[in-house]
Protein backbone atom coordinates (compact mmCIF):
# COMPACT_ATOMS: atom_id res chain seq x y z
CA UNK A 1 0.00 0.00 0.00
CA UNK A 2 2.97 2.31 0.26
CA UNK A 3 2.67 3.12 -3.41
CA UNK A 4 -0.47 5.12 -2.69
CA UNK A 5 1.46 8.34 -3.15
CA UNK A 6 2.19 7.50 -6.74
CA UNK A 7 -1.18 5.97 -7.62
CA UNK A 8 -2.89 7.75 -10.45
CA UNK A 9 -6.44 7.97 -11.65
CA UNK A 10 -9.87 8.63 -10.28
CA UNK A 11 -10.10 5.31 -8.49
CA UNK A 12 -7.46 6.18 -5.94
CA UNK A 13 -8.94 6.65 -2.47
CA UNK A 14 -9.81 10.13 -1.25
CA UNK A 15 -8.24 9.58 2.16
CA UNK A 16 -5.66 7.00 3.01
CA UNK A 17 -4.14 6.75 6.47
CA UNK A 18 -1.40 4.34 7.43
CA UNK A 19 -0.50 3.81 11.05
CA UNK A 20 -1.16 7.46 11.95
CA UNK A 21 0.00 8.46 15.41
CA UNK A 22 -0.53 11.77 17.16
CA UNK A 23 0.80 12.81 20.55
CA UNK A 24 0.19 15.94 22.56
CA UNK A 25 3.30 15.85 24.72
CA UNK A 26 3.20 12.60 26.63
CA UNK A 27 -0.46 12.07 25.82
CA UNK A 28 -1.00 9.61 22.95
CA UNK A 29 -4.20 10.66 21.22
CA UNK A 30 -3.97 8.58 18.05
CA UNK A 31 -2.28 5.21 18.29
CA UNK A 32 -2.06 3.78 14.82
CA UNK A 33 -5.00 4.69 12.62
CA UNK A 34 -5.15 2.84 9.30
CA UNK A 35 -8.10 3.74 7.16
CA UNK A 36 -9.13 4.22 3.55
CA UNK A 37 -12.03 6.39 2.45
CA UNK A 38 -13.18 6.08 -1.15
CA UNK A 39 -14.54 8.79 -3.37
CA UNK A 40 -18.20 9.48 -2.75
CA UNK A 41 -18.14 7.54 0.47
CA UNK A 42 -19.89 8.85 3.59
CA UNK A 43 -18.04 7.73 6.68
CA UNK A 44 -19.35 8.28 10.17
CA UNK A 45 -16.90 8.26 13.03
CA UNK A 46 -18.37 7.47 16.42
CA UNK A 47 -16.97 6.70 19.82
CA UNK A 48 -16.70 8.10 23.33
CA UNK A 49 -15.26 11.56 23.84
CA UNK A 50 -11.48 11.59 24.04
CA UNK A 51 -11.23 8.65 21.66
CA UNK A 52 -9.38 10.76 19.06
CA UNK A 53 -12.13 11.18 16.42
CA UNK A 54 -11.85 14.96 16.20
CA UNK A 55 -8.07 14.89 16.34
CA UNK A 56 -7.94 12.48 13.41
CA UNK A 57 -10.30 14.71 11.46
CA UNK A 58 -8.10 17.73 12.21
CA UNK A 59 -5.01 15.83 11.06
CA UNK A 60 -6.59 15.31 7.65
CA UNK A 61 -6.52 19.03 6.82
CA UNK A 62 -3.33 19.55 8.76
CA UNK A 63 -4.78 21.59 11.60
CA UNK A 64 -2.75 19.07 13.60
CA UNK A 65 0.50 17.51 12.43
CA UNK A 66 0.83 13.74 12.64
CA UNK A 67 3.82 12.39 14.60
CA UNK A 68 4.15 9.03 12.91
CA UNK A 69 2.67 7.15 9.99
CA UNK A 70 1.51 8.58 6.69
CA UNK A 71 -1.65 10.37 5.73
CA UNK A 72 -2.66 10.98 2.12
CA UNK A 73 -5.54 13.03 0.76
CA UNK A 74 -6.29 12.35 -2.89
CA UNK A 75 -2.92 10.70 -3.23
CA UNK A 76 -0.96 13.65 -1.79
CA UNK A 77 0.96 13.36 1.47
CA UNK A 78 -0.50 15.72 4.10
CA UNK A 79 1.73 18.20 5.91
CA UNK A 80 5.07 17.06 4.50
CA UNK A 81 6.82 16.63 1.21
CA UNK A 82 8.86 13.51 0.61
CA UNK A 83 12.17 13.78 -1.25
CA UNK A 84 14.89 11.18 -1.48
CA UNK A 85 13.38 9.18 1.34
CA UNK A 86 13.28 12.14 3.75
CA UNK A 87 10.30 14.14 4.96
CA UNK A 88 10.39 17.92 4.84
CA UNK A 89 7.95 20.13 6.75
CA UNK A 90 5.70 22.03 4.40
CA UNK A 91 6.01 25.80 4.18
CA UNK A 92 2.87 27.51 5.55
CA UNK A 93 1.90 28.64 2.05
CA UNK A 94 2.00 25.06 0.75
CA UNK A 95 0.00 23.80 3.70
CA UNK A 96 -2.62 26.46 3.00
CA UNK A 97 -2.79 25.30 -0.61
CA UNK A 98 -3.47 21.73 0.55
CA UNK A 99 -6.33 22.84 2.78
CA UNK A 100 -8.14 24.77 0.08
CA UNK A 101 -10.12 21.89 -1.32
CA UNK A 102 -10.92 20.24 1.99
CA UNK A 103 -14.03 21.74 3.56
CA UNK A 104 -14.39 21.72 7.31
CA UNK A 105 -17.43 22.32 9.49
CA UNK A 106 -16.87 22.94 13.20
CA UNK A 107 -18.90 22.15 16.27
CA UNK A 108 -19.13 25.83 17.15
CA UNK A 109 -19.63 27.04 13.56
CA UNK A 110 -16.79 29.60 13.77
CA UNK A 111 -18.50 31.98 11.36
CA UNK A 112 -16.81 35.37 11.00
CA UNK A 113 -18.95 37.56 13.27
CA UNK A 114 -17.97 40.79 11.54
CA UNK A 115 -19.22 39.63 8.14
CA UNK A 116 -22.76 38.99 6.91
CA UNK A 117 -23.80 35.46 5.95
CA UNK A 118 -23.13 36.29 2.30
CA UNK A 119 -19.73 37.83 3.01
CA UNK A 120 -18.76 34.82 5.10
CA UNK A 121 -19.31 32.63 2.05
CA UNK A 122 -17.68 35.01 -0.42
CA UNK A 123 -14.55 35.54 1.69
CA UNK A 124 -12.46 32.47 0.89
CA UNK A 125 -13.19 32.20 -2.85
CA UNK A 126 -12.24 35.86 -3.34
CA UNK A 127 -9.24 35.96 -0.96
CA UNK A 128 -7.81 32.50 -1.50
CA UNK A 129 -8.92 31.42 -4.97
CA UNK A 130 -8.94 34.97 -6.36
CA UNK A 131 -12.41 34.44 -7.84
CA UNK A 132 -14.06 37.58 -9.22
CA UNK A 133 -16.28 39.16 -6.58
CA UNK A 134 -19.43 39.12 -8.73
CA UNK A 135 -19.04 35.45 -9.61
CA UNK A 136 -18.40 34.58 -5.97
CA UNK A 137 -21.52 36.47 -4.88
CA UNK A 138 -23.69 34.69 -7.46
CA UNK A 139 -22.38 31.36 -6.27
CA UNK A 140 -22.82 32.32 -2.62
CA UNK A 141 -26.48 33.15 -3.27
CA UNK A 142 -26.96 29.75 -4.89
CA UNK A 143 -25.37 28.08 -1.90
CA UNK A 144 -27.53 30.05 0.52
CA UNK A 145 -30.58 28.92 -1.44
CA UNK A 146 -29.30 25.36 -1.28
CA UNK A 147 -29.16 25.48 2.51
CA UNK A 148 -32.51 27.28 2.62
CA UNK A 149 -31.31 30.66 3.84
CA UNK A 150 -31.72 32.99 0.87
CA UNK A 151 -33.50 35.62 2.96
CA UNK A 152 -30.65 35.73 5.50
CA UNK A 153 -27.92 36.85 3.10
CA UNK A 154 -27.43 40.18 4.86
CA UNK A 155 -27.82 38.97 8.43
CA UNK A 156 -24.82 38.84 10.73
CA UNK A 157 -24.07 35.52 12.47
CA UNK A 158 -25.21 36.90 15.85
CA UNK A 159 -28.65 37.43 14.35
CA UNK A 160 -28.99 33.82 13.22
CA UNK A 161 -30.03 30.78 15.23
CA UNK A 162 -27.48 28.03 15.82
CA UNK A 163 -28.97 25.85 13.11
CA UNK A 164 -28.93 28.70 10.62
CA UNK A 165 -25.32 29.55 11.50
CA UNK A 166 -24.24 25.98 10.94
CA UNK A 167 -26.00 25.91 7.55
CA UNK A 168 -24.15 29.10 6.58
CA UNK A 169 -20.92 27.45 7.76
CA UNK A 170 -21.61 24.47 5.48
CA UNK A 171 -22.29 26.82 2.58
CA UNK A 172 -19.03 28.65 3.37
CA UNK A 173 -17.09 25.40 3.15
CA UNK A 174 -18.87 24.38 -0.07
CA UNK A 175 -17.98 27.69 -1.71
CA UNK A 176 -14.41 26.43 -2.14
CA UNK A 177 -15.64 23.45 -4.22
CA UNK A 178 -14.13 20.93 -1.83
CA UNK A 179 -13.47 17.38 -2.88
CA UNK A 180 -13.78 16.26 0.72
CA UNK A 181 -15.93 17.56 3.56
CA UNK A 182 -15.01 17.10 7.20
CA UNK A 183 -17.69 17.54 9.84
CA UNK A 184 -16.56 17.82 13.47
CA UNK A 185 -19.65 17.16 15.58
CA UNK A 186 -21.71 19.57 13.48
CA UNK A 187 -24.89 19.24 15.55
CA UNK A 188 -23.52 18.89 19.08
CA UNK A 189 -23.88 22.57 19.95
CA UNK A 190 -27.44 22.84 18.64
CA UNK A 191 -30.85 22.83 20.28
CA UNK A 192 -32.65 19.57 19.48
CA UNK A 193 -35.21 21.26 17.22
CA UNK A 194 -32.42 22.66 15.01
CA UNK A 195 -30.50 19.44 14.55
CA UNK A 196 -32.87 18.29 11.82
CA UNK A 197 -32.38 21.30 9.53
CA UNK A 198 -28.60 20.83 9.58
CA UNK A 199 -28.81 17.09 9.04
CA UNK A 200 -31.18 17.65 6.08
CA UNK A 201 -28.51 19.73 4.37
CA UNK A 202 -25.92 17.03 5.05
CA UNK A 203 -28.19 14.27 3.74
CA UNK A 204 -28.70 16.24 0.55
CA UNK A 205 -24.94 16.67 0.22
CA UNK A 206 -24.36 12.95 0.74
CA UNK A 207 -26.91 12.11 -1.92
CA UNK A 208 -25.12 14.37 -4.37
CA UNK A 209 -22.07 12.16 -3.99
CA UNK A 210 -19.84 14.31 -1.78
CA UNK A 211 -17.11 12.44 0.06
CA UNK A 212 -17.82 13.08 3.72
CA UNK A 213 -16.20 12.21 7.02
CA UNK A 214 -18.52 12.96 9.90
CA UNK A 215 -17.73 12.84 13.59
CA UNK A 216 -21.16 12.55 15.15
CA UNK A 217 -23.35 11.28 17.93
CA UNK A 218 -26.39 11.34 15.65
CA UNK A 219 -27.02 7.63 15.20
CA UNK A 220 -30.11 8.42 13.15
CA UNK A 221 -28.00 10.26 10.62
CA UNK A 222 -25.33 7.56 10.64
CA UNK A 223 -28.01 4.99 9.97
CA UNK A 224 -29.69 6.96 7.24
CA UNK A 225 -26.88 8.18 5.01
CA UNK A 226 -23.55 6.72 5.96
CA UNK A 227 -22.00 3.91 3.97
CA UNK A 228 -19.61 2.94 6.66
CA UNK A 229 -19.17 3.50 10.37
CA UNK A 230 -15.94 3.37 12.30
CA UNK A 231 -15.94 3.12 16.04
CA UNK A 232 -12.94 4.59 17.80
CA UNK A 233 -11.77 4.13 21.35
CA UNK A 234 -8.57 5.28 23.04
CA UNK A 235 -6.90 6.38 19.83
CA UNK A 236 -7.60 3.25 17.81
CA UNK A 237 -10.21 2.08 15.37
CA UNK A 238 -11.98 -0.68 17.24
CA UNK A 239 -14.56 -1.46 14.61
CA UNK A 240 -14.74 -0.65 10.91
CA UNK A 241 -17.97 -1.94 9.44
CA UNK A 242 -20.68 -1.23 6.93
CA UNK A 243 -23.58 0.67 8.38
CA UNK A 244 -25.84 -2.39 8.49
CA UNK A 245 -23.25 -4.56 10.19
CA UNK A 246 -22.44 -1.86 12.71
CA UNK A 247 -26.00 -1.22 13.81
CA UNK A 248 -27.04 -4.85 13.36
CA UNK A 249 -24.33 -6.87 14.97
CA UNK A 250 -21.30 -4.93 16.15
CA UNK A 251 -18.51 -7.41 16.70
CA UNK A 252 -16.47 -5.64 19.38
CA UNK A 253 -17.73 -5.62 22.93
CA UNK A 254 -16.70 -1.99 23.36
CA UNK A 255 -18.89 -0.90 20.46
CA UNK A 256 -21.79 -2.94 21.77
CA UNK A 257 -21.54 -1.21 25.14
CA UNK A 258 -21.34 2.20 23.50
CA UNK A 259 -24.35 1.57 21.28
CA UNK A 260 -26.38 0.20 24.19
CA UNK A 261 -25.68 3.37 26.15
CA UNK A 262 -26.34 5.78 23.34
CA UNK A 263 -29.48 4.11 21.95
CA UNK A 264 -31.13 3.76 25.36
CA UNK A 265 -32.25 7.35 25.31
Amino acid sequence: MSETATEKGADRPMVHAEQVHKNFGALKVLRGITLTVDRGEVLCMVGPSGSGKSTFLRCINHLETVNAGRLYVDGVLVGYSEKHGRLYELAPREAARQRRDIGMVFQHFNLFPHRTALDNIVEAPVQVKKTKKAAAVTKARDLLAQVGLSEKAHAYPAQLSGGQQQRVAIARALAMDPKLMLFDEPTSALDPEMVGEVLDVMVQLAQEGMTMMVVTHEMGFARKVSHRVIFMDAGKIVEDATKDDFFGTPRSERAQQFLAKILQH
Binding site: N61, L63, P92, R93, A96, R97, R99, R100, D101, I102, G103, M104, F106, H108, N110, L111, F112, P113, H114, R115, T116, E123, A124, Q127, V128, K129, E151, H154, A155, Y156, P157, A158, Q159, R172, A173, M176
Partner: protein, 309 residues
Protein backbone atom coordinates in the same frame (compact mmCIF):
# COMPACT_ATOMS: atom_id res chain seq x y z
CA UNK B 1 -56.71 40.94 5.13
CA UNK B 2 -59.89 39.46 3.81
CA UNK B 3 -62.94 39.43 6.02
CA UNK B 4 -63.11 35.65 6.21
CA UNK B 5 -59.73 35.24 7.87
CA UNK B 6 -59.65 38.51 9.81
CA UNK B 7 -59.33 38.06 13.54
CA UNK B 8 -59.98 41.23 15.54
CA UNK B 9 -56.64 42.25 17.01
CA UNK B 10 -56.57 43.75 20.54
CA UNK B 11 -56.16 47.53 20.85
CA UNK B 12 -52.64 48.87 21.16
CA UNK B 13 -51.81 49.78 24.76
CA UNK B 14 -51.86 53.46 25.68
CA UNK B 15 -50.61 53.58 29.25
CA UNK B 16 -49.93 56.71 31.34
CA UNK B 17 -46.14 57.16 31.29
CA UNK B 18 -44.16 56.82 34.51
CA UNK B 19 -43.39 60.13 36.25
CA UNK B 20 -39.69 60.71 36.86
CA UNK B 21 -39.93 63.00 39.88
CA UNK B 22 -36.34 62.37 40.98
CA UNK B 23 -34.98 63.51 37.61
CA UNK B 24 -36.84 66.82 37.80
CA UNK B 25 -35.55 67.55 41.30
CA UNK B 26 -31.96 66.72 40.28
CA UNK B 27 -32.25 68.86 37.15
CA UNK B 28 -33.50 71.82 39.16
CA UNK B 29 -30.63 71.61 41.66
CA UNK B 30 -28.02 71.28 38.91
CA UNK B 31 -29.50 74.22 36.98
CA UNK B 32 -29.37 76.45 40.05
CA UNK B 33 -25.72 75.54 40.75
CA UNK B 34 -24.69 76.09 37.12
CA UNK B 35 -26.49 79.42 37.10
CA UNK B 36 -24.67 80.54 40.24
CA UNK B 37 -21.31 79.50 38.79
CA UNK B 38 -21.88 81.30 35.48
CA UNK B 39 -23.01 84.44 37.32
CA UNK B 40 -19.92 84.28 39.53
CA UNK B 41 -17.55 83.70 36.62
CA UNK B 42 -19.08 86.51 34.56
CA UNK B 43 -18.86 89.07 37.35
CA UNK B 44 -15.47 88.05 38.79
CA UNK B 45 -12.75 90.35 37.44
CA UNK B 46 -10.05 87.71 37.90
CA UNK B 47 -11.36 85.83 34.85
CA UNK B 48 -10.81 88.95 32.74
CA UNK B 49 -13.13 87.98 29.92
CA UNK B 50 -12.19 90.84 27.66
CA UNK B 51 -8.62 89.52 27.53
CA UNK B 52 -9.99 86.00 27.00
CA UNK B 53 -11.93 87.07 23.91
CA UNK B 54 -9.02 89.14 22.66
CA UNK B 55 -6.66 86.16 22.63
CA UNK B 56 -9.06 83.31 21.86
CA UNK B 57 -8.61 83.75 18.12
CA UNK B 58 -5.19 85.39 18.24
CA UNK B 59 -2.99 84.27 15.41
CA UNK B 60 -0.17 83.18 17.72
CA UNK B 61 -2.60 80.99 19.65
CA UNK B 62 -4.13 79.35 16.57
CA UNK B 63 -0.67 78.70 15.11
CA UNK B 64 0.34 77.09 18.38
CA UNK B 65 -2.82 75.00 18.27
CA UNK B 66 -1.74 73.70 14.85
CA UNK B 67 1.64 72.71 16.33
CA UNK B 68 -0.17 70.84 19.11
CA UNK B 69 -2.26 68.99 16.51
CA UNK B 70 0.84 68.12 14.49
CA UNK B 71 2.56 66.79 17.58
CA UNK B 72 -0.48 64.70 18.45
CA UNK B 73 -0.91 63.21 14.98
CA UNK B 74 2.78 62.45 14.37
CA UNK B 75 3.38 61.04 17.84
CA UNK B 76 0.28 58.83 17.57
CA UNK B 77 1.33 57.53 14.13
CA UNK B 78 4.75 56.66 15.52
CA UNK B 79 3.14 55.15 18.62
CA UNK B 80 0.62 53.02 16.71
CA UNK B 81 3.11 51.67 14.13
CA UNK B 82 5.70 50.86 16.76
CA UNK B 83 2.99 49.60 19.13
CA UNK B 84 1.61 47.10 16.60
CA UNK B 85 5.16 45.91 15.89
CA UNK B 86 5.83 45.44 19.60
CA UNK B 87 2.51 43.62 20.08
CA UNK B 88 3.27 41.18 17.26
CA UNK B 89 6.77 40.73 18.70
CA UNK B 90 5.35 39.90 22.12
CA UNK B 91 2.94 37.36 20.61
CA UNK B 92 5.53 35.78 18.36
CA UNK B 93 7.01 32.37 19.20
CA UNK B 94 10.51 33.86 18.81
CA UNK B 95 11.79 34.30 22.37
CA UNK B 96 14.40 36.92 21.41
CA UNK B 97 11.74 39.20 19.91
CA UNK B 98 9.46 38.50 22.85
CA UNK B 99 11.96 39.54 25.50
CA UNK B 100 13.14 42.56 23.49
CA UNK B 101 9.57 43.83 23.42
CA UNK B 102 9.21 43.14 27.12
CA UNK B 103 12.30 45.16 28.01
CA UNK B 104 11.07 48.03 25.84
CA UNK B 105 7.74 48.06 27.64
CA UNK B 106 9.44 47.80 31.00
CA UNK B 107 11.55 50.90 30.39
CA UNK B 108 9.06 53.11 28.57
CA UNK B 109 6.09 52.37 30.79
CA UNK B 110 8.18 52.38 33.94
CA UNK B 111 9.50 55.94 33.67
CA UNK B 112 7.48 59.19 33.59
CA UNK B 113 6.92 60.69 30.15
CA UNK B 114 8.12 64.06 31.48
CA UNK B 115 11.47 62.52 32.43
CA UNK B 116 11.69 60.86 29.01
CA UNK B 117 11.04 64.18 27.28
CA UNK B 118 13.79 65.90 29.29
CA UNK B 119 16.08 63.05 28.29
CA UNK B 120 15.29 63.54 24.59
CA UNK B 121 16.03 67.21 25.05
CA UNK B 122 19.49 66.27 26.31
CA UNK B 123 19.99 63.70 23.56
CA UNK B 124 22.27 65.96 21.57
CA UNK B 125 24.54 66.46 24.59
CA UNK B 126 24.86 62.70 24.96
CA UNK B 127 25.28 61.83 21.29
CA UNK B 128 26.96 64.70 19.50
CA UNK B 129 26.92 63.11 16.12
CA UNK B 130 25.60 60.04 14.36
CA UNK B 131 27.91 57.97 12.16
CA UNK B 132 26.65 55.60 9.50
CA UNK B 133 28.83 52.68 8.46
CA UNK B 134 30.37 49.55 9.96
CA UNK B 135 31.22 50.05 13.64
CA UNK B 136 34.94 50.56 14.32
CA UNK B 137 35.82 50.12 10.65
CA UNK B 138 34.17 52.09 7.88
CA UNK B 139 32.50 55.48 8.23
CA UNK B 140 30.21 56.30 5.32
CA UNK B 141 28.50 59.43 6.60
CA UNK B 142 28.00 61.41 9.75
CA UNK B 143 25.42 63.86 10.96
CA UNK B 144 26.13 66.55 13.44
CA UNK B 145 23.10 66.47 15.71
CA UNK B 146 23.91 69.74 17.45
CA UNK B 147 23.67 71.61 14.19
CA UNK B 148 19.97 71.00 13.66
CA UNK B 149 17.05 72.54 15.54
CA UNK B 150 15.53 69.30 16.63
CA UNK B 151 13.17 70.26 19.46
CA UNK B 152 10.05 69.40 17.47
CA UNK B 153 11.52 66.13 16.18
CA UNK B 154 12.63 65.09 19.63
CA UNK B 155 9.24 66.00 21.07
CA UNK B 156 7.55 63.71 18.51
CA UNK B 157 10.06 60.92 19.16
CA UNK B 158 9.73 61.26 22.92
CA UNK B 159 5.92 61.24 22.89
CA UNK B 160 5.74 58.54 20.21
CA UNK B 161 8.12 56.06 21.83
CA UNK B 162 6.34 56.43 25.14
CA UNK B 163 2.98 55.96 23.45
CA UNK B 164 4.19 52.83 21.63
CA UNK B 165 4.55 51.01 24.95
CA UNK B 166 0.89 51.66 25.79
CA UNK B 167 -0.36 50.95 22.26
CA UNK B 168 1.48 47.62 22.27
CA UNK B 169 -0.53 46.45 25.26
CA UNK B 170 -3.78 47.65 23.73
CA UNK B 171 -3.12 45.89 20.42
CA UNK B 172 -1.99 42.73 22.18
CA UNK B 173 -5.17 42.63 24.25
CA UNK B 174 -7.18 43.09 21.06
CA UNK B 175 -5.49 40.29 19.16
CA UNK B 176 -5.77 37.95 22.15
CA UNK B 177 -9.48 38.68 22.43
CA UNK B 178 -10.24 37.02 19.10
CA UNK B 179 -11.14 33.37 19.65
CA UNK B 180 -8.99 30.52 18.42
CA UNK B 181 -11.91 29.17 16.39
CA UNK B 182 -11.68 32.21 14.13
CA UNK B 183 -8.06 31.53 13.21
CA UNK B 184 -8.86 27.86 12.75
CA UNK B 185 -11.80 28.52 10.45
CA UNK B 186 -9.71 30.87 8.31
CA UNK B 187 -6.81 28.45 8.10
CA UNK B 188 -9.15 25.58 7.24
CA UNK B 189 -10.43 27.65 4.31
CA UNK B 190 -6.88 27.86 2.97
CA UNK B 191 -6.06 31.40 4.12
CA UNK B 192 -2.42 32.18 4.93
CA UNK B 193 -1.27 33.57 8.29
CA UNK B 194 -1.10 37.10 6.86
CA UNK B 195 -4.59 36.83 5.34
CA UNK B 196 -5.96 35.44 8.59
CA UNK B 197 -4.47 38.36 10.52
CA UNK B 198 -5.60 41.00 8.04
CA UNK B 199 -9.05 39.70 7.14
CA UNK B 200 -10.20 37.84 10.25
CA UNK B 201 -8.24 38.65 13.40
CA UNK B 202 -7.38 42.37 13.16
CA UNK B 203 -10.87 43.54 12.04
CA UNK B 204 -12.33 41.77 15.06
CA UNK B 205 -9.52 42.93 17.32
CA UNK B 206 -10.33 46.52 16.22
CA UNK B 207 -13.48 46.44 18.30
CA UNK B 208 -11.30 45.99 21.37
CA UNK B 209 -8.46 48.22 20.11
CA UNK B 210 -10.40 51.28 18.91
CA UNK B 211 -12.01 52.59 22.12
CA UNK B 212 -8.80 52.66 24.20
CA UNK B 213 -6.90 54.05 21.19
CA UNK B 214 -9.41 56.89 21.04
CA UNK B 215 -8.65 57.53 24.68
CA UNK B 216 -4.95 57.47 23.89
CA UNK B 217 -5.36 60.11 21.16
CA UNK B 218 -7.28 62.36 23.52
CA UNK B 219 -4.72 61.75 26.22
CA UNK B 220 -1.87 62.43 23.77
CA UNK B 221 -3.40 65.76 22.76
CA UNK B 222 -3.19 66.84 26.39
CA UNK B 223 0.20 65.24 27.06
CA UNK B 224 1.70 67.43 24.31
CA UNK B 225 1.57 70.26 26.87
CA UNK B 226 4.56 68.56 28.52
CA UNK B 227 6.87 69.15 25.53
CA UNK B 228 8.03 72.27 27.29
CA UNK B 229 10.37 69.75 29.00
CA UNK B 230 12.32 69.16 25.75
CA UNK B 231 12.10 72.23 25.57
CA UNK B 232 9.72 72.98 22.72
CA UNK B 233 7.94 76.31 23.13
CA UNK B 234 5.73 76.54 20.06
CA UNK B 235 2.81 74.37 21.23
CA UNK B 236 -0.50 75.66 22.57
CA UNK B 237 0.23 75.57 26.28
CA UNK B 238 3.77 76.99 26.00
CA UNK B 239 2.57 79.78 23.75
CA UNK B 240 -0.25 80.69 26.16
CA UNK B 241 2.30 80.79 28.99
CA UNK B 242 4.62 82.92 26.86
CA UNK B 243 1.95 85.50 26.22
CA UNK B 244 0.83 85.59 29.82
CA UNK B 245 4.46 85.99 30.84
CA UNK B 246 4.48 89.21 28.86
CA UNK B 247 1.06 90.63 29.78
CA UNK B 248 0.79 89.24 33.35
CA UNK B 249 -2.70 87.80 32.78
CA UNK B 250 -2.31 84.05 33.28
CA UNK B 251 -5.92 83.19 34.07
CA UNK B 252 -7.60 84.32 30.83
CA UNK B 253 -4.76 82.79 28.78
CA UNK B 254 -5.06 79.47 30.59
CA UNK B 255 -8.77 79.59 29.79
CA UNK B 256 -7.93 80.27 26.14
CA UNK B 257 -5.64 77.23 26.03
CA UNK B 258 -8.23 75.11 27.86
CA UNK B 259 -10.91 76.13 25.38
CA UNK B 260 -8.79 75.01 22.43
CA UNK B 261 -7.91 71.71 24.08
CA UNK B 262 -11.57 71.12 24.88
CA UNK B 263 -12.56 71.96 21.30
CA UNK B 264 -10.12 69.40 19.87
CA UNK B 265 -10.99 66.66 22.34
CA UNK B 266 -14.69 67.18 21.61
CA UNK B 267 -14.06 66.63 17.91
CA UNK B 268 -12.03 63.53 18.72
CA UNK B 269 -14.81 62.18 20.91
CA UNK B 270 -17.31 62.52 18.08
CA UNK B 271 -14.94 60.72 15.71
CA UNK B 272 -14.42 57.99 18.27
CA UNK B 273 -18.19 57.46 18.58
CA UNK B 274 -18.56 56.76 14.86
CA UNK B 275 -15.46 54.56 14.68
CA UNK B 276 -16.71 52.45 17.57
CA UNK B 277 -20.08 52.09 15.92
CA UNK B 278 -18.50 50.93 12.70
CA UNK B 279 -16.29 48.32 14.33
CA UNK B 280 -19.10 46.98 16.52
CA UNK B 281 -20.79 45.53 13.41
CA UNK B 282 -22.05 42.01 13.94
CA UNK B 283 -21.51 42.07 17.70
CA UNK B 284 -25.13 42.65 18.59
CA UNK B 285 -28.38 40.86 17.89
CA UNK B 286 -30.12 44.18 17.44
CA UNK B 287 -31.26 44.52 13.85
CA UNK B 288 -30.47 47.51 11.66
CA UNK B 289 -33.33 49.37 10.04
CA UNK B 290 -32.50 47.82 6.70
CA UNK B 291 -32.65 44.32 8.15
CA UNK B 292 -35.89 45.04 10.03
CA UNK B 293 -37.43 46.30 6.79
CA UNK B 294 -36.34 43.15 4.95
CA UNK B 295 -37.89 40.97 7.66
CA UNK B 296 -41.11 43.02 7.65
CA UNK B 297 -41.32 42.68 3.86
CA UNK B 298 -40.84 38.92 4.12
CA UNK B 299 -43.57 38.76 6.77
CA UNK B 300 -46.08 40.67 4.64
CA UNK B 301 -45.20 38.53 1.64
CA UNK B 302 -45.73 35.26 3.48
CA UNK B 303 -49.04 36.48 4.90
CA UNK B 304 -50.22 37.48 1.45
CA UNK B 305 -49.24 34.17 -0.06
CA UNK B 306 -51.11 32.36 2.71
CA UNK B 307 -54.23 34.35 2.05
CA UNK B 308 -54.17 33.53 -1.63
CA UNK B 309 -54.40 29.83 -0.89
Amino acid sequence: MTSTTAVSEPELIEAVPLRHTGRWIAATIVLILVGLFIYGAATNDAFDWSTYWKYLFDKRISQAAVVTLELTVLAMILGIVLGVTLAVMRLSPNSVLKSTAWVYLWIFRGTPVYVQLVFWGLFTSIYRQVDIGIPFAVRLADFNLQGIDAAFTFAVIGLGLNEAAYMAEIVRAGISSVGEGQTEASVALGMTWAQTMRRTVLPQAMRVIIPPTGNEVISMLKTTSLVTAVPLTTDLYSKARDISGANFRPIPLLLVAATWYLFFTSILMIGQYYLEKRFARGSSRTLTNRQLQALADAQVESMESQEKR
